[in-house]
């Protein structure tokens, strides 16, 4: 398995709270990883540390690309922001798309941030929307879409820059079970199916059950790892 990202002995405190206490983790290409645990167990902090949103107090997060290992935790804010544009994709619980933009413009946004011409960016965005089954809604406004459709748009946006890893924070938390299953299928197909890694923070055992590996966290440490065939 090709290693994409590796966390070594991560520690993170928020005041008196120990969010991460010596977490070690390796994530490979084509892998889907679910992180579960009660509120305050450190799962979101771990996701944020892996994605370069939070800087751990101690430890390393090594991103391995093109035979190079980059310690994300040691990068400046600006460099981590640039890394998030190019190497990572994000899906949030509520989508958090720009309501004033159309569907295709939202998906094209990461490519525009990378300096791609608008026509080219929108063409790629349309292609991704087509793959996710909502190509016919490209010119719609977000308010005209259902919750499930909006999450598909968010998934398409997360894929736009062809990232190595997609991080999803409760991506189905606001959806009913049937729509949740559909969205999870779309998320897995577009990430793992394309050779990327997917890291999902979830409270939903059904969502975790569809990932190849599940970590259970408690009090800032990984207490259990479950690998599926």
């Amino acid at each position: 398995m090709q290693i994409l990202i590796e966390a070594r002995s991560l520690f993170k405190d928020f005041g008196p709270t120990h969010a991460l206490r010596g977490v070690d983790l390796v994530i490979g290409a084509g892998e889907s990883l679910a992180i579960m645990g009660p509120s305050g167990s450190g799962k979101t902090t771990l996701l944020h540390s892996l994605a370069g949103i939070e800087t751990p107090d101690a430890g390393q997060v090594l991103l391995r690309q093109d035979d190079r290992a980059t310690d994300i935790a040691a990068l400046s804010d600006r460099a981590r922001s640039a890394l998030r544009r190019t190497a990572f994709g994000f899906v949030f619980q509520q989508g958090l798309l720009l309501p004033e933009l159309t569907v295709v413009e939202n998906v094209a946004l990461p490519l525009l941030l990378l300096g791609r011409p608008r026509a080219e960016a929108e063409a790629e965005a349309s292609r991704l929307l087509g793959l996710l089954g909502i190509g016919d809604r490209a010119d719609a406004r977000l308010g005209q879409l259902s919750g499930g459709q909006q999450q598909r748009v968010a998934i398409a946006r997360a894929q736009a820059a062809a990232p190595a890893i997609v991080f999803a924070d409760e991506p189905t938390g606001a959806l009913d079970s049937a729509t949740s299953a559909e969205v999870m299928t779309a998320l897995l197909d577009s990430t793992v199916g394309a050779g990327r890694a997917l890291v999902v923070v979830t409270h939903d055992a059904g969502v975790a059950g569809r990932c190849s590996r599940t970590l259970h966290m408690r009090d800032g440490v990984i207490v259990e790892t479950m690998v599926r065939a």
Binding site: A51, I53, R78, S81, A82, L83, R84, R85, T86, F88, G89, F90, F92, Q93, Q94, L96, L98, P99, E100, L101, T102, E105, L109, P110, L112, L113, P117, R118, R141, L142, G143, Q144, R157, D169, E170, G173, A174
Partner: protein, 447 residues
């Protein structure tokens, strides 16, 4: 009785909840305080001018009323912005109450109660601030001497201003409630805004033509009272036209900007304007009023300089006083507009904090977010500034032509007004960058 108890309990609960997000209450309160401060100072100035006697006493009184008329527009605009802000920031909670089955009466009463309480707190604070500010304005020299104690308005004015601000807030909250009461889901899910209607543009054009005709036949209207009335009516008509035509024009420009947008900041700002041209207009519309005032001011200076050219000492003092009054009026107008933009933008950032944090997470630099915000205000601002200045110049063309020929300084003042207005609004936007930075630094995506 039970209803009143429920109302008071809910109001208390909401007040406690708002304590966790102090800005929900603080921003509208600050806005109301600024409105009260400005209104009280303007009232003080008007009353001071009414104390002037002598041969020019009547002229001073007329000038005071003219300045009052000019300042009412940006004042009302700022007041409206404050009231809308106050109502908007509790829309979601009220919609939720409606969805949970609260009666229309309860939701209405709660909204009005909250809005008036915030407005009252802000208005009282503004009145106290005016006590500190008025002595500074008292140092200004008019009619050959410092205004001094004459700047203090009668006590009843303070209460009247506070009362007016509270009533404005209550009425605005009640009107804003209609959307929540009638369509609670319309507020919780983003509604598609109705476009600006083309028919209004036609009516506006008719009003504009009528204003041009009246202004060109002023001398044949008769006495001075009729002429002053006609000028004020034209003034009001043009302002109304600007309010109607503004969103239509911004929508047309927004489409053009959208077609050409090649960067995220340009795309987001263009879509932002197109998404709700009326809201875009409300943000910068007051500048249109100020620009319009600027043209009047330019003409006023031209007339002042003509009067000052005489040998009479009283006439020279009067000319100097008019010049001072014009500058004062313009500076206050610009200050109100900049305050309104600052408050509106700060509120917009806070309202969209989760979105901004998420954009930061996907790697959008803060500079890009800021550029999008800045463009969404400044691009319409430029259109509005140039458009309204040209409109006013056309309306006043005969007088503008005279000013151009006899007193080029008048045009220089107009240009200075435009530059100052844009600069102040830019500063207002710059001040809200700190709000964006703090939102991003907090970095909590609220879901």
């Amino acid at each position: 009785m039970t209803g009143v108890v429920t109302l008071l309990r809910l109001a208390r609960l909401f007040a406690r909840r708002a304590g966790g997000d102090a800005t929900t209450l603080a921003l509208p309160a600050v806005a109301f305080a600024v409105v009260t401060l400005c209104t009280t100072v303007v009232a003080g100035g008007v009353f001071a001018f009414f104390t002037f006697g002598g041969e020019n006493g009547g002229v001073y009184r007329m000038l005071a009323l003219l300045a009052l008329v000019l300042l009412i527009v940006p004042l009302a605009s700022l007041g409206g912005a404050a009231a809308r802000l106050s109502a908007r920031r509790r829309d979601e909670r009220l919609s939720s109450l409606r969805l949970m089955g609260a009666s229309t009466g309860l939701v209405s009463a709660l909204t009005v109660l909250e809005s008036t309480a915030v407005a009252l707190a802000g208005a009282v604070a503004g009145s106290l601030l005016s006590l500190a500010a008025l002595p500074l304005f008292g140092l200004l020299r008019f009619d050959g001497a410092a205004i001094g104690a004459a700047i203090w308005p009668p006590v009843w004015v303070y209460f009247a201003v506070i009362g007016a601000v509270v009533v404005l807030s209550a009425v605005s909250a009640a009107l804003g409630l209609r959307a929540v009461v009638i369509t609670p889901l319309g507020v919780r899910t983003r509604v598609v805004h109705a476009g600006a209607r083309g028919i209004r543009a036609v009516i506006a054009a008719a009003v504009l033509v009528a204003a041009v005709v009246v202004m060109n036949t002023l001398t044949s209207l008769g006495g001075i009272v009729v002429i002053v009335g006609a000028v004020l009516a034209c003034f009001g008509g043009v302002l109304a036209v600007l309010g109607v035509v503004g969103p239509v024009v911004l929508r047309a420009y927004g489409r053009r900007w959208l077609r050409r947008a090649g960067t995220p900041a340009r795309l987001i700002s263009a879509r932002g304007v197109l998404d709700d041209p009326k809201a875009a207009w409300r943000q910068v519309g007051s500048v249109a009023m100020v620009c319009f005032v600027g043209v009047f001011a330019g003409i006023g200076v031209a007339i002042t300089q003509t009067v000052g050219g005489g040998q009479d000492a009283a006439a020279r003092i009067l000319a100097q006083d008019i010049r001072t009054g014009v500058v004062l009026t313009l500076v206050m107008s610009f200050a109100m507009v900049a305050c309104a933009v600052g408050v509106n933008q700060a509120a917009a950032v806070l309202d969209r904090r989760a979105l901004y944090v998420s954009l930061d997470r996907i790697g959008m630099p803060a500079a890009v977010m800021d550029a999008a915000r800045r463009r969404a205000v400044l691009a319409p601002l430029l259109v509005v500034t140039i458009g309204s200045a040209c409109t006013a110049a056309i309306i006043l063309f005969p007088l503008t032509g005279m000013a151009l020929l006899l007193q080029p300084l008048a045009l220089a003042i107009i240009a200075g007004c435009l530059a100052l207005g844009i600069g102040l609004v830019w500063l207002g936007l710059l001040a809200t960058r700190a709000v964006l930075n703090s939102v991003l630094a907090a970095g909590v995506v609220e879901q």
